[in-house]
């Protein structure tokens, strides 16, 4: 059995009190509970304070480019689908720079878990507004208030085909850990959008703010009803943030539909192709 210590890399450099600390702890505890080890895990980290977890979490990891972690994760999964694959990304990373990859990964139902640190700012580049910033939010890049409406990432995922969509709050690491664990256990594309206070740059969406505006979905919530889920997701525009699994359905994952991949051997481990008698007649 692995322990939290096994997953623990360098001492994090996040600001004291940053929501990322809670996310780091919740991810590790979910991994331990699932019996995974750093050697059975692929993680694609984005670039941001969020992505900086690369040095703090042990795994076979790609710390790639800003916005491009999802395709990295997809490539790793296709090459070796025996491994669990996470993408640990920021809101700017995933919904801005890499927004196109995000929506197509939902459609593809790739069996990866995308963990988004939604702090509504660009932390690492010192506080400009992120795609999830509330309309009117003032930041260094939008001193007069951001003109665009915020992205509603949960609805986006829901309507583009994600088969597991959850939201959690970095201030409640126990619940957050459960969400991450369920997301990893889910076969297919899973999203955990995490409301994450950035103490340094976001003075609006603080722990206190979220404490006032979040609520947990209860047993009456029908996880298989897309429209109900979208309704809950849209609460973001009324500052009502649902926590929990908004939506979950069973569907065949992307790699399971690739006929040349079999369930027992990964692409990496299969034998080399040799049957050229099948191929060469094509050229005659």
């Amino acid at each position: 059995m692995s322990t939290v210590q096994d997953f623990t890399g360098y001492q994090p450099t996040w600001c004291p009190g940053c929501g990322d600390w809670g996310i780091g702890i919740a991810i590790k505890s979910a991994l331990v509970q699932l019996g995974l080890s750093p050697s059975s895990l692929f993680v694609a980290f984005g670039i941001g304070c969020s992505g900086n977890m690369n040095d703090f979490l042990n795994a076979y990891a790609m710390h790639g480019l800003h916005g491009r972690s999802i395709p990295n994760a997809i490539g790793m999964k296709l090459a070796n689908h025996k491994m669990t694959v996470l993408a640990v990304v920021g809101d700017g990373d995933c919904y801005g720079e890499g927004g196109n990859h995000f929506l197509h990964a939902c459609r593809g139902n790739h069996d990866i878990t995308v963990i988004v640190h939604d702090n509504r700012v660009y932390g690492l580049t010192t506080g400009q507004s992120a795609p999830t910033a509330q309309k009117g939010y003032k930041s260094k890049s939008t001193p007069l208030g951001i003109i665009e409406e915020s992205v509603d990432p949960l609805s986006l995922a829901l309507t583009q085909g994600a088969t597991f969509v959850a939201q959690a709050f970095a201030g409640d690491t126990i619940h957050l850990g459960q969400m991450i664990k369920q997301a990893i256990e889910h076969k297919g594309f899973s999203l955990v959008n995490i409301l994450q206070p950035c103490l340094t740059f976001n003075k609006i969406n603080t722990y206190q703010y979220y404490m006032k505006h979040v609520y947990k979905l209860d047993d009456t919530h029908d996880k298989t009803n897309m429209l109900t889920a979208v309704n809950k997701a849209r609460g973001v525009y009324e500052e009502k943030y649902a926590l929990g699994v908004l939506y979950q359905v069973e569907k065949t994952a992307f790699h399971e539909q690739i006929v040349q991949l079999d369930s027992t051997t990964s692409l990496k481990d299969r034998d080399k192709f040799t049957d050229y008698n099948q191929l060469l007649p094509y050229f005659k």
Binding site: S39, A59, A79, N80, F283
Partner: protein, 572 residues
């Protein structure tokens, strides 16, 4: 040497490509060598398509510029190509559509009437025309019928029979009305089995031979047929072929696959490659092997999508921010495309860097034939060489970027129990963790740069020289797809001028000591490139201090022609 050119033209969207390829396969199966070239506008319907096949009993790699047999499925074909007709040319046409005004021998075939009588569709005009062509060239319909059976196998015997009658009618019409015009130019030759392929198919085949297991792309002319070919083969080859949402996803998916341990490649043209460039730099610092196939077309921007150019060499060579090694290879024909592709996958694994194969529309979409034994020998002899890739390690902690004298560190395939590491796009310590230390930075920059020295020592290939260099009065210098035309010109000039051709395939980086002695002799050098700025010349100037006073630079979207090289040589 006997060479002739057969060309068919008609409205785009009516099967010219399929018919042209059938002709190429037929002459190839009869034992001839061939090279074909297609002209088509960036339209699906409504434009003009032309398909030209050069047939010879010796090696050919370009068009001589003249046409011996012109099949006009419409009037426009005649108008567009009449100036290229050779002295004894034949024209196959239908007088119910138009009557060509020309000295050439006219061969009327009633396409329209035959179509009408057999209730055929427009597209079957091609079949009639090919049947008639084969009769005129003195061969039979045996191979053509086999190709028809192959093409319609799944649709059943009736469909096969239905199509065959069009070929039969065209054939019979010639036998009946033009017996005295029949040319005996396609008598079967006794030669070994040959394979007909385009440059893109040659790359695809090379990728399979090299055990590439993941190919990711986004369609972009003229690279798209790599994607469609590999996709068509995927059930057989078991390669994972992914058409991703954009080129940035393309390269990052492939990097994910490569990091996870499978040989991976991507393919695109200049515009798509531009989108990939940041990720090429990631492959550089994280030392992830990757093969990138670029098929050039004239730019800038959307440019001329269905035409040819070598305008992206400098862009490719310098692609990626920051300083890191990469290798650029430029095959000149199908054998080199298959061979260098298999080599590229080894080089990517050995040096843990991006390796780029440069093609262009001319090489990518033209067919020529190569000996089947060349391919089967390659399959037999090719060794997958993954360099310092390892599947176990007993060093703890495992140092992914350990310093080494050859610049290459052992690369552990992820998934091994007890280990883990990251492929970091930030500068890193030997163990992969992020660092901003000046010392560690220098260590890693130097380590990565050292790979090039190792490459020069072990794998750089000095350019091939065709012709007798010592005796040559004129020395052509070029790279990539110009090889075909230059070799053809050398043959034509043989009785008049002694020439040599220095053919570069390993175009970047260039090993100075190996290349300078070839270029600093007291010779008449002529640099030949399919671009406006002489980009390879600039590379030689920059790296080796060599410049050229005589150049042939073509940038009108067409390949360099035999005639313009001959004219240049004759100038002095």
């Amino acid at each position: 040497m006997k060479t002739f050119v057969w060309k068919i033209g008609g409205e785009a969207g009516f099967g010219i490509m399929t018919t042209g390829l059938a002709f190429s396969k037929i002459v190839s199966r009869l034992g001839y060598q061939m090279f074909d070239y297609i002209e088509y506008p960036s339209l699906i319907r409504g434009g003009h398509n032309a398909y030209e096949v050069v047939v010879s009993d010796d090696r050919v790699g370009s068009s001589p510029g003249s046409i011996d047999f012109l099949v006009c499925l419409n009037k426009q074909t005649f108008e567009l190509h009449k100036d290229q007709l050779s002295d004894n040319a034949f024209i196959i046409y239908d007088k119910d559509e138009f009557i060509p005004e020309t000295k050439s021998t006219l061969i009327h075939v009633p396409f329209k009437k035959i179509l009408f009588s057999l209730k055929g569709q427009q597209i079957m005009k091609n079949t009639i025309a090919l049947g008639a062509s084969l009769a005129l060239l003195g061969t039979d319909l045996k191979i053509f019928n086999e190709l028809i059976s192959q093409q319609f196998r799944r649709k059943g015997e009736d469909v096969i029979k239905f199509n065959e009658q069009f070929a039969e009618k065209g054939y019979a019409y010639i036998i009946e009305h033009y017996k005295e015009n029949i040319q005996q130019v396609l008598l079967p030759l006794n030669s070994e089995s040959q394979l007909v392929m385009t440059g893109n198919e040659a790359f695809s085949l090379g990728a399979v031979i090299a055990d590439c297991r993941m190919y990711v792309a986004y369609p972009m002319t003229p690279s798209s047929s790599v994607l469609t070919t590999l996709a068509a083969w995927q059930k057989t080859s078991r390669m994972v072929v992914r058409h991703a949402e954009d080129e940035i996803s393309v390269i990052n998916t492939a990097l994910g696959g490569s990091f996870a341990g499978v040989r991976s490649a991507v393919g695109t043209s200049g515009g798509g490659f531009a989108l990939m460039v940041e990720s090429v730099s990631y492959a550089g610092i994280a030392e992830i092997p990757l093969v990138i196939f670029i098929s050039q077309r004239p730019g800038p921007a959307t440019g001329m999508p269905t035409w040819t150019e070598q305008g992206d060499l400098l862009f490719t060579v310098f692609a990626g921010h920051g300083e890191f090694p990469k290798i650029v290879l430029a095959p000149g024909d199908m054998e080199e495309m298959v061979g260098l592709t298999t080599e590229a996958f080894n080089l990517a694994d050995i040096y843990q860097i991006p390796v780029i194969i440069m093609s262009d529309m001319y090489l990518s979409e033209s067919h020529s034939n190569i000996k089947e034994s060349f391919v089967t020998d390659l399959i037999k002899n090719y060794q997958v060489n993954r360099g310092k890739t390892i599947t176990q390690t007993n060093t703890t902690p495992y140092l992914r970027y350990s310093d080494s004298s050859d610049g290459i560190s052992p690369r552990l395939i992820p998934g091994v129990a007890g280990s883990f590491y990251q492929a970091n796009s930030y500068e890193h310590f030997e163990d992969g963790h992020t660092t901003e230390s000046a010392e560690e930075r220098i260590k890693q920059v130097d380590k990565r740069a050292r790979k090039i020295r190792t490459y020069f020592n072990n794998d750089f290939k000095t350019p091939m020289i065709y012709g007798n260099f010592n005796e040559a009065e004129v020395v052509f210098v070029s790279w990539g797809s110009n090889k075909g035309v230059i070799l053809d010109v050398q043959k034509k000039l043989r009785s008049r001028v002694k020439t040599a051709y220095i053919h570069f395939t390993h175009v970047y980086p260039l090993k100075k000591e190996a290349v300078i002695p070839l270029l600093n002799q007291d010779k008449r050098y002529v640099l030949i490139e399919n671009n406006a700025e002489g980009q390879f010349g600039k590379l030689l100037q920059m790296g080796l201090g060599i410049s050229f006073s005589e150049t042939i630079l073509r940038y009108d979207g067409r390949a360099v022609s035999q005639q313009e090289i001959i004219n240049k040589v004759n100038l002095k």
